[in-house]
């Protein structure tokens, strides 16, 4: 008698052969499964490519903020030793001396304070001195030429080729200066800029003892140099010499948090793209394996070992995953190349379209990992498929047996998501929270689906019409798709809605001065007597008076009876020393502004004569002096002591250009105190700005004007770009989400075919089957979308609060639109799924799907 060789070796080649054979038949169906991988990975690759390209673009743009890799400046002439150091830095360097001076416009015979900048070298290295005519920006250094700020030209009716007198030298105006890198500093805006070549500086006679000159050195590095490390090494030397430095990174941080918001948002988008890919792949593979149960049972009958069956499908899934990922990478790269071409006319920005191999490899690798990882769960259940399934017996569902390996897979999935989140965010803690959040969302959706199954069973009443009963019964009957569809639709919706909500919040953060109601010009030092006249003049010029506030300078004398000396002696009081040395700019008014909110106490708009004055303290100020509502303060208003108490504590939104104050007095006490007024207005253009400034300066020479237009223009452009990128990326991801959603619903096609065919065979009318299917998908779609949106609102709130650190608000209208879109999409795809059943003879379908 022959014996059984139990030690039969696994024949890997044969496993590959089987995996390949098994994939051959019904390629169309396989394509559907692959498609969700393709779209998931396509989105991932496209988003990553965009992200890399856009990050480069934005970084390049950011470099124009300072125009060089490194800027060193100070108000002291460097000594020989320092000069040697300064000359040793960079691959190319430029020098600049800047100082305020009264410049004489020969044609209009008038004088004006300007910021003279004497330049030597090729600065700017990033961006240009944007001039009219264009070449003046480079050429002016060749002779005794000057570049004059646009507003200045307009203000004095000057033209190119007119001349100006700087000190004792006369320069010909070579061009109008429209924009210059590094012009975003405040100093630039106090006085308009005039550029002259440095070789003529000495001849102006303005540089002598007592002159106040700012020395700047601009450096360019050709090779990638770690500037951060470099300046860290230089810092002590520079600090000792009283020199400041500026780097692109530093400028980015300082100028706007939009940069960090953008990179955070891009990380979020990348992360969500991946998760969408996961949802698509996981739901596709889950259903795919379910359909393979019978085949696996047959193989088991023939003597295929559980491990072999597992391996056959693991090989197959890996192959599918690889093909899908490569196809996805190609698709993604294609999209990334095509889209800007198609949208060229609509794009306010140019997005470079370099092939990002990094993104492609990342996409393929991730696609493979996701495919295998998310296939593992259904795959390990293959090991439990009983060969008994081949017999006519309805075997109890062995796949639901709790396999200890499931937990291993769960752990692997969580580990993968966490480490991916870490790669995106760079913070284990945050990555952990992200993963927990996704787990919670997943559990909520599963729970909802489970409850749905439980409750519809109880809910369905015999009194209902057949169609309703059948439609609802589909949700809980065996072989239902409730859990998988609820989870995949719900998660997709949650991701889409989260992106959408965050995008809206970010966009509202980056719109700065775009609106007409945002102030971009500030007039200060308006004397009390001039207040009305200045406002009238502003209105007469057709400009809005956005805000006009009195400002009184005062000092804090005592906090709850404690003076500066007390605070110094007793640190336990926790009153900042500086709180007493600070000159407070205080206003008085009878109401709160829209950018303020009282967090404790009550706002009092009017002081009662003879009593302590109720003032409102800004939150951080209150913290600094360690005071709470009801605490007594004594202010020294230029020689007059005023007894006050904190009646309210305010939270101020500093994100708006408006006048915000640490301390606000009520009306009725400060009206007679020495005060200046500040007026905010919005000027639509440089021409208007120049005309207005001219009028103000003429009538009120003491009034100083700061035109934020220039600063805001550069920033606006940048923020506009960032805002656009945010919109574009989220729009792109949302479309991806919808595609993944479509393919996951589409996958459910084969689940209902048998039943629908049966109903048809039994004489069900097209209309009835249509209605049953529509009801099932409507219910699934609506509930999942609703749950997804609720999750999205929660998650976007958390993101806003903890990741982006910005105020939260939900705009419900678009959310409702998302809800209806997703619900109707689900129903439509569901109906499309059963269209084949409705149009073809039942037998044909049964045979083609056997």
């Amino acid at each position: 008698m022959d014996t059984v060789n139990f030690k039969r070796k696994i024949n890997i080649a044969w496993l590959f052969k089987m995996a390949l054979r098994d994939s051959r038949r019904n390629r169309g169906r396989l394509l559907l499964f692959i498609s969700s991988i393709v779209f998931g990975i396509g989105a991932l690759v496209a988003i990553y490519s965009f992200r890399y390209n856009i990050q480069n673009d934005v970084n390049d743009q950011a470099a124009t903020l300072i125009g060089a890799d490194l800027t060193i400046s100070g108000n002291k002439q460097p000594d020989a030793k320092l000069q040697k150091l300064l000359n040793s830095l960079g691959d190319d360097r430029s020098e600049e001396r800047s100082f305020p001076s009264m410049v004489y416009f020969t044609k209009s015979q008038s004088t004006r304070l300007v910021q003279v900048k004497a330049l030597h070298g090729n600065f700017p290295y990033y961006g240009d001195l944007e001039t009219t005519p264009v070449k003046a920006g480079r050429d002016f250094k060749k002779g005794k030429y000057a570049l004059v700020d646009k507003t200045l030209m307009l203000q004095f009716n000057a033209n190119v080729n007119d001349s100006i007198k700087v000190g004792q030298e006369i320069f010909v105006i070579a061009g109008v200066l429209n924009k210059a890198p590094g012009q975003t500093g405040l100093s630039a805006s106090i006085a308009p800029t005039v550029y002259i070549p440095m070789q003529y500086l000495d001849k102006t006679g303005l540089i002598t003892t007592g002159s106040r000159i700012n020395y700047s050195y601009y450096y360019k590095y050709n090779s990638k140099t770690n500037i951060a490390k470099l300046v860290k090494g230089l810092d002590p030397t520079l600090d000792k010499a009283g020199l400041n430095y500026d780097t692109v990174e530093g400028k980015k941080e300082g100028t706007s948090r939009s940069f960090s918001d953008l990179s955070r948002f891009l990380s979020l988008v990348g992360f969500i793209a991946l998760l969408l890919g996961c949802v698509g792949v996981a739901s596709a593979i889950n259903i795919y394996i379910r359909e393979k149960i019978q085949s696996i049972a047959i193989m088991r009958c023939m003597g295929v070992k559980a491990s072999e069956a597992f391996l056959i499908y693991l090989i197959q899934i890996t192959g599918i995953g690889l093909i899908g990922s490569v196809a996805g990478a190609i698709l993604g790269t294609g999209i990334q190349h095509l889209l800007p071409l198609v949208l060229e006319d609509f794009l306010p920005i140019t997005i470079s379209v370099n092939i990002s191999w990094m993104a492609i490899w990342q996409g393929i690798l991730l696609g493979l990992i996701i495919s295998i990882l998310f296939a593992l769960l259904p795959l390990i259940s293959i090991r439990n498929i009983s060969p008994l399934n081949t017999l006519r017996l309805s075997v109890d569902d062995t796949t639901t047996i709790r396999d200890p390996f499931r937990w291993l897979v769960y752990v692997l999935v969580l580990l993968f998501i966490t480490s991916f989140a870490y790669l995106q965010i760079g913070d284990w803690m945050a990555a952990g929270f992200f993963t927990i959040g996704i787990m919670v969302a997943f559990l909520i959706l599963t729970a909802i689906a489970w409850l749905l199954i439980r409750f519809t069973r109880l809910l369905v009443m015999s009194s209902w019409s057949y169609i309703w009963r059948q439609g609802f019964a589909n949700l809980y009957r065996p072989n239902n798709q409730t859990i998988i569809l609820t989870v995949s639709i719900g998660l997709s919706t949650a991701f889409i809605a989260t992106l959408f909500l965050i995008q809206q919040l970010l966009i509202s953060q980056v719109t700065l001065s775009a609106g007409d109601n945002q102030s971009n010009m500030i007039l200060f030092d308006i004397q009390a007597a001039q207040q009305k006249a200045v406002a009238d003049l502003t209105r007469k010029q057709g400009l809005p008076v956005l805000s006009q506030v009195p400002i009184i300078t005062m000092r804090l004398e005592k906090v709850n009876g404690k003076t500066a000396a007390d605070a110094k002696k007793d640190t336990a009081l926790h009153i900042s020393q500086r709180a007493f040395t600070y000159e407070y700019r205080v206003t008085y008014r009878d109401s709160l502004t829209p950018s303020e909110r009282v967090t404790s106490g009550t706002w009092t708009g009017k002081a009662e004569p003879g009593k302590d004055i109720p003032v409102s303290a800004e939150e951080r100020f209150a913290n600094r002096i360690n005071a709470k509502v009801g605490d007594k303060l004594v202010f020294n208003v230029q020689g007059v002591m005023m007894q006050a108490y904190i009646s309210s504590i305010r939270k101020v939104n500093w994100n708006k250009i408006s006048t915000n104050f640490q301390v606000v007095f009520p009306t009725g006490v400060l009206e007679d105190a020495p005060q200046i007024h500040v007026l905010l207005t919005h000027v639509p253009s440089n021409t208007v700005s120049a005309k207005y400034q001219q009028a103000v300066v003429k009538q009120f020479p003491n009034v100083s004007i700061i035109d934020l237009g220039l600063i805001l223009n550069v920033l606006d452009e940048l923020l506009g770009k960032i805002g656009y990128v945010i919109k574009f990326m989220s729009g792109f991801s949302i479309i991806t989400g919808i595609i993944v959603l479509i393919s996951s619903v589409r996958i459910s096609k084969y689940q209902r075919i048998q039943e629908s065919v049966l109903l048809r065979t039994l004489g069900g009318s097209r209309k009835q089957i249509f209605a049953i299917t529509a009801l099932e998908y409507l219910f699934l779609g609506a509930l999942s979308a609703l749950t997804g949106i609720v999750i999205a609102i929660g998650s976007s709130w958390l993101l806003a609060k903890y990741t982006f650190d910005m105020p939260y608000a939900v705009n419900f209208l678009p959310v409702i639109v998302i809800f209806f879109t997703i619900t109707s999409l689900t129903v439509i795809i569901g109906l499309l799924n059963s269209r084949g059943v409705l149009n073809k003879p039942p037998l044909e379908i049964l045979r083609s799907n056997s």
Binding site: N75, K76, F99, P100, S101, M102, V103, Y104, T111, L113, V116, G167, L186, I190, A191, L206, T208, G210, S211, R212, E253, G254, T255, S256, R257, S258, S260, L512, F524, D525, A528, A529, I551, T553, E557, T581, Y582, E583, R585, R620, Q638, G639, M641, W654, N655, K656, I657, N660, D672, A673, P674, I676, V678, L680, P701, N702, S704, I706, L708, I711
Partner: protein, 224 residues
Amino acid sequence: MLNKFRILAVLALTITVAGCGSQSTSNDTSEKAETKEATAANKNILVFGDSLTAGYGLDDASESYPSVLQTKIDSAKLPYTIINGGLSGETSAGGKSRIDWLLKQHIDVFVLELGANDGLRGIPVKETEQNLQTIIDRVKSKYPNAKLVMLGMQVPPNMGDDYVSDFRDMFPKLAAKNNMTLVPFLLQGVGGVRALNQKDGIHPTAEGAKILANNVWQELKGLL
């Protein structure tokens, strides 16, 4: 929080910076300001000025030049109290609106130190001159017997020759016109000297403030 749109905080800056800056000044005016009910035996000297008077950037309020003057007065056992009427960033126009508030208290000697911020902002000299004249007129009409002192200022040469000379000449002109005692240049010996100025190159250090006080004392002591 600091890295929020810094640009948005510009307003806060613009209100405070402009010209002389403000950030921190002494708090010593308080006690002096409370001397409103000064008796006849104790006479008041009002030093009306900008950040130079207020002692911008000094660690301790007692280092400002009016405080140094007070110690000189005290050691000379003269019955005068100095009221520090300095306000950082103050221009001549600002001074014009503020003077009434300070003139509520009795003044025996009036020291005028304003104009520097006008100069740094390129305000036409004529305008500054008019404002200063108005301030002097107010003092004269309220306290006709008060003795007047004018502290002269200059702007750095980089502002351009014409402006520099017009500005410099304004002070002696006003002093002569109003019969005031003139300190030709308050920052004499300090302006342009690195070691005596703070990092910004404008505001004197404590050491510099002592020289300022000496410059003023030269002329002031004769009046007391």
